[in-house]
Symmetry: C2
Subunit: 253 residues, 2 copies
Amino acid sequence: MIKTVIIGSGNVAQHLITAFRESGNVHLVQVLARHPKTLEQQFPDLDIITDAASLAEADVYVIAVSDNAIGAVSSQLPLNNKLVVHTSGTTSLAVLDPKNRRGVFYPLQTFTKGKRLAYHHIPFCLETEHESDYAILHELAHSVSESVYRISEDQRKALHVAAVFVCNFTNHLYQIGHDLCEEHQVPFAILQPLIAETADKIQTLTPQQAQTGPALRGDTETLNRHLAALTDATQKEVYQLLTKSIIDHGKKL
Amino acid sequence: MIKTVIIGSGNVAQHLITAFRESGNVHLVQVLARHPKTLEQQFPDLDIITDAASLAEADVYVIAVSDNAIGAVSSQLPLNNKLVVHTSGTTSLAVLDPKNRRGVFYPLQTFTKGKRLAYHHIPFCLETEHESDYAILHELAHSVSESVYRISEDQRKALHVAAVFVCNFTNHLYQIGHDLCEEHQVPFAILQPLIAETADKIQTLTPQQAQTGPALRGDTETLNRHLAALTDATQKEVYQLLTKSIIDHGKKL
């Protein structure tokens, strides 16, 4: 059993608590939280502390707080030479206080409060300051998930940008679809099977194999009709730029 | 049993053939195809004809050919006062030859050659010239799918634009994610669970509830770091515009 402490009480912390407790190989010793209320309600049998002075002995300390608090939180821990990791996709390992052995434990997924996830499919992107710590961090991740990767800082930051494209921006395209449905009084439910299938295709095809549509076909007649049908200036701009990007991408092949 | 003839041999035609044959309520009498080879291999027991003169009697004739061929194909059919429909999201019903009773039978889904689909979840968007024909077209669609909608031409065209956003453009964002992975030598598989979960969220949450990320949070520090990390000019442009679009959308709420 890997003795683990989580520091934080937000969305990622809550999901890690659930994942660690479901795993047979992790002993979640404590959670340190400044605002313990939500956690106490959600996990009544958890040992939640609010004072870092009461921190217990553990193999790994996982800081799951907002990116800009990681440095300060790590400095306030009364620990020395312990394995202390953060869970951020964009933050350097170097932001952690060097009094401890530092690492990164980044689960690449979009976490929704209260929505269950198949934790064993979540990719964990790991980095450690000391090679000798990698095995323990790998064991912790592997206790939760089948999908564990050694990822450098540069790679992790690139993955974080990529995640913005395939998650945040994709969801915004769903939003535009939703807005168009509202504008024309058709239920958004009509688009849901298409959204599901578009994502499903990418589990077996490359994006290049899966690409379809008027931009790829160079069907300017449809493109012009679509542009004329859009009434919102930003939607028009997005339509034009993504069309151009698809066409340019095709030329590079 | 609704006696049905399909005209066409492409992707949509092939999927409709499968869907109609799996349904207990559709009698697929014939398929008219100029290039019958692929169909003959895929459906050896199908009655495939190449000459419109041999067209059999049916309740509905479904033209599943490319958008710009619909008009000409419909004129060449030696039929009069029959229910003839096309399957296009962007084409007006009026493109069909007026010698027949016209309609639209638009399955809103992305069809991949050879990839099985749950046809009973595909939304069918229906329109008929004559009110009295709606019931038969509804019965045909309902023989395949639980999800049947009466959709006007304007609504259908809006749905087609919306489909470009949530399918074609979304897949292009997957492509950008894929390109970033290649550039930084990480496997695209790391992004696949995120892609799946992003689409899955939208089956129960609205896009607004599901939206996350630095643009929504107004986290300019992360936005600037992401922009600095992107080396491709078009990727930068897409990042900036979609970020602006998310921010502007938030202001409208």
